[in-house]
């Protein structure tokens, strides 16, 4: 009875179906905020967008790259556990965590820099949206890192096998989602 997958009506495991449902609600959460931003950006006469040079686009591009890379390493970690290679699984997982940590460090530097330049959460509408959207995303990245650390720990206890690694796959789905949110936030906040 260890493989619960065969028992479900849909053939999809409970954990995975639950994760997809959760991600659907997350889409609505970010969707609500992003559409609020898009509407006020195009509709409010007082949305003062700072010059792009103030936004530090090269650094943010690097950050985008770091996060996308961590998504790729997550896929590699999943592939490793599917082959039953725990050592390789843990290596790729560490790379994923590394990518997330780099992202957060750069973000912290960016926040400090922007705050000193006068883009604060209350300075104007753009600043408010910038810190709210990226802040909520940072919360999600941080949560993801805790999740990865848990996977690393569970991996050392030998809890994952090529047949049973639902948690890795679900954490991966979540991590790709977090990545995807950034891929939307980056152009609408920095580039456009």
């Amino acid at each position: 009875m260890s493989t619960a997958i065969a028992e479900t009506n849909t053939g999809i495991s409970n954990a995975k179906l639950g994760t997809w449902s959760f991600l659907a609600s997350e889409i609505m959460l970010f969707g609500g905020l992003i559409s609020a931003y898009v509407i006020l950006r195009s509709g409010s006469a007082h949305m003062v967008v700072p010059p792009r040079s103030m936004m530090g686009i090269p650094l943010a591009t690097f950050n985008t790259f770091a996060l996308i890379t961590s998504s790729v390493t997550m896929v590699l970690a999943l592939a490793a556990i599917q082959e039953g290679n725990i050592a390789r699984f843990q290596r790729w997982l560490l790379c994923t965590i590394g990518g997330g940590v780099i992202f957060l460090c750069v973000k912290a530097y960016e926040y400090q820099h922007k705050w000193e330049e006068g883009i604060t959460i209350s300075s104007n509408l753009f600043g408010s949206f910038y810190y709210t959207l990226t802040g909520l995303h940072v919360v999600h990245v941080t949560g993801g890192l805790f999740l990865m650390a848990y996977l690393l720990w569970a991996g050392t206890r030998g809890e994952f096998t090529p047949e049973s690694h639902d948690r890795v796959e679900c954490a991966g789905l979540y991590w790709h989602f977090v990545d995807l949110v950034w891929v939307i936030l980056f152009p609408i906040l920095y580039l456009l």
Partner: protein, 593 residues
């Protein structure tokens, strides 16, 4: 509890029950215990919200002192109110600020802490896994967390009364920018709402996965009882609509604590000076985000009630439901359409009229599946041998009451008529007809219907019938006069409506409403008594006291931990009553041919 697993290799389903009182009844992961926890808690919140409303109706019945008022000789009730609320109800006359607080809290409590947890979480948790033949929910621990976060959220919201400046005063809708400049209680409200949204997210994920993944062998979606369908659609609405309010609440929270101006326009004048904010935001944005949740929310209140009524009617007419497929299809269409009607709450907000046209159209469209549901339920009665027991009385009363609620909504959905009716008592009358004599009595009917399954005994029929008449009659005397007052243009949200000359002609009805409200309160005492008395003294119910067909009646009452001794198998649709040639007039889903 000694649970002897005699068989060699008793498989994973044969749970041993948890040991000890705390783990069995308080921090339980059993869906049945969690369902009953939700049931009791939400009834308590309903009682609190109702009591607040009685205070407000007292004020509205006699808003100002008459000519013969003597502060030295207060009556019994005035004296009591004066003693209980010396600050906010001196001499039994309500301070308008206190009135606003009670109004906002009444709405919040009744909807988010009362009716939704009762309809979705209590009945959904208890009944749905049984009806699909599952041993428990898909994620039992998440289920437990859902209850405890709900309770914490409820406590946070209630504790706003202790905040500096008192409870929220901006209505349950918390319209910005009024809510942004309101005292600290509003912050409690926002934080409490975020916690409750988290709780409902846990619940919604659990319901969706359980219904889709854990049905018994042979129970295809097309054989699933209407109640489970209603819960599934409701869970999808909760999953997708609530996060948008979370987004809105987050922005409002930041507006209040971090100095942002998402909902604050440029150079807003507040207290005769310019409000010190960067500005540029839009108050209407809040209304959009709020109603994007709150219109699906109406159907979250309604769909479980429809599901319950369908179950009760099928059982007590002893015939299959009329149009099972149409019923289920209509529920799904309602679910989809409910996402694109929200702005009919906003015709007077300054929204573009071309946009209003769109929402008038969608709103009229959603009335079609709603009427289809009602028609199916009504036609199900035709040719049945109806058993008029207490649950059935409540289910039958739901039909005309929801009918009034739905039909009075049409003039509000049309922008031209809404111009006159908006923000009058007509609106209050309309949505209370949907929620109170509509949803709530269906949920009370559900309590009588599934009580034997929950506690192994039936509730008393005589007391139940007294409760029924003392609920339905006063409810109509409470809410129907509001429709009349509203058509005369009496405005809502006023502590002293008599201050406006145009409200005076229909003020007299408020006395009738107040009296009917008090009678309604007294009318709930038989229910309260019945609920506790029947725990010990009710007629003992077997596994299937109503001779019903669905799976929850196939396991013992109350069901043991793990529900079914052996996983049930389903051979037919949910409502096989009075099948010609069958030995009894009901043919349970799990009975092999």
């Amino acid at each position: 509890m000694t649970d002897a697993h005699g068989h060699a290799g008793a498989h994973a389903h044969g749970h041993a029950g948890p040991q000890g009182f705390i783990w069995k009844y308080v921090f339980s992961v059993d869906h049945k215990v969690i369902g009953i926890q939700y049931l009791v808690t939400s009834f308590l919140f309903l009682l609190v919200g109702f009591s607040m409303m009685l205070l407000m109706r007292w004020q509205l019945a006699v808003p100002t002192p008459g000519d013969d008022f003597d502060p030295e000789k207060l009556g019994m009730i005035r004296g009591l109110l004066n003693w209980m609320f010396p600050e906010s109800m001196p001499f039994g006359f309500m301070d308008p600020v206190f009135y606003n607080q009670l109004g906002a809290m009444h709405g919040t409590i009744m909807i988010f802490l009362g009716v939704v947890p009762l309809g979705v979480a209590a009945f959904g948790n208890f009944v749905m896994p049984l009806q699909i033949g599952a041993p428990d929910m898909a994620f039992p621990r998440l289920n437990m967390m859902s209850y405890w976060t709900y309770l914490v959220g409820g406590i946070v919201i209630m504790s706003s009364f202790l905040a500096d400046g008192g409870a929220p005063q901006s209505g349950w809708t918390s319209y910005a920018p009024l809510s942004v400049v309101a005292p600290a209680g509003q912050t409690y409200w926002l934080i409490g709402m975020v916690i409750i949204i988290t709780s409902s997210l846990f619940g919604a994920i659990n319901f969706i996965v359980t219904t889709l993944n854990m049905r018994a062998k042979g129970l295809t979606l097309g054989r699933m009882p209407v109640f489970c369908w209603a819960q599934l659609v409701t869970a999808v609405l909760l999953l997708l609509a609530f996060p948008v309010l979370e987004a809105g609440a987050l922005l409002q929270l930041l507006d209040r604590v971090a100095g942002t101006s998402f909902y604050i326009p440029k150079d807003m004048i507040y207290g005769a000076t310019v409000f010190p904010r960067a500005g540029g935001g839009s108050p209407i944005l809040w209304q959009h985000l709020f109603w994007f949740l709150a219109h699906p929310e109406v159907y979250v209140l309604l769909l479980p009630a429809m599901g319950i009524v369908a179950e009760i009617i099928a059982t007590n007419t002893r015939k299959p439901l009329f149009g099972y497929k149409e019923l289920v299809g209509s529920l799904c269409v309602i679910g989809v359409l409910s996402f694109i009607v929200w702005a009919h709450h906003m015709f007077l907000s300054g929204m573009r009229t071309s946009l209003a046209n769109l929402f008038v159209t969608t709103t009229m469209t959603i009335s079609i599946p709603s009427v289809a549901v009602l028609t199916c339920l009504l036609l199900s009665l035709r040719g049945g041998t109806i058993r008029f027991n207490t649950p059935m009385l409540f289910a039958l009363a739901f039909l005309p009451m929801f009918g009034i609620g739905g039909l009075t909504g049409l003039p509000l959905g049309f922008a031209p008529t809404d111009l006159h009716l908006h923000d009058t008592y007509y609106v209050i009358g309309h949505f209370h007809y949907v929620v109170a004599p509509g949803s709530l009595i269906a949920l009370i009917g559900g309590t009588y219907y599934w009580y034997p399954k929950m506690f192994g005994r039936k509730m008393n029929e005589k007391l139940g019938k007294v409760h029924f008449w003392m609920t339905v009659i006063p409810m109509n005397f409470v809410f129907f006069p509001m429709l009349i007052q509203g058509m005369y243009g009496m405005q809502r949200r006023l502590a002293t409506p008599t201050d406006q000359w145009h409200n005076l002609p229909v003020q007299g009805w408020s006395m009738l409403i107040g009296i009917a409200g008090a009678v309604l309160f007294v009318g709930q005492l038989p229910f309260l008594w019945n609920f506790f008395w029947s725990l010990k003294h009710g007629e003992v119910a077997g596994a299937n006291p109503w001779n019903a067909t669905t799976l929850e009646w196939a396991c013992p009452s109350p069901p043991p931990h793990g529900n079914f001794a052996t996983p049930p198998e389903v051979f037919r649709g949910p409502y096989e009553y009075s099948v010609p040639g069958h030995k009894t007039d009901y043919w349970p889903q799990d009975e092999a041919a």
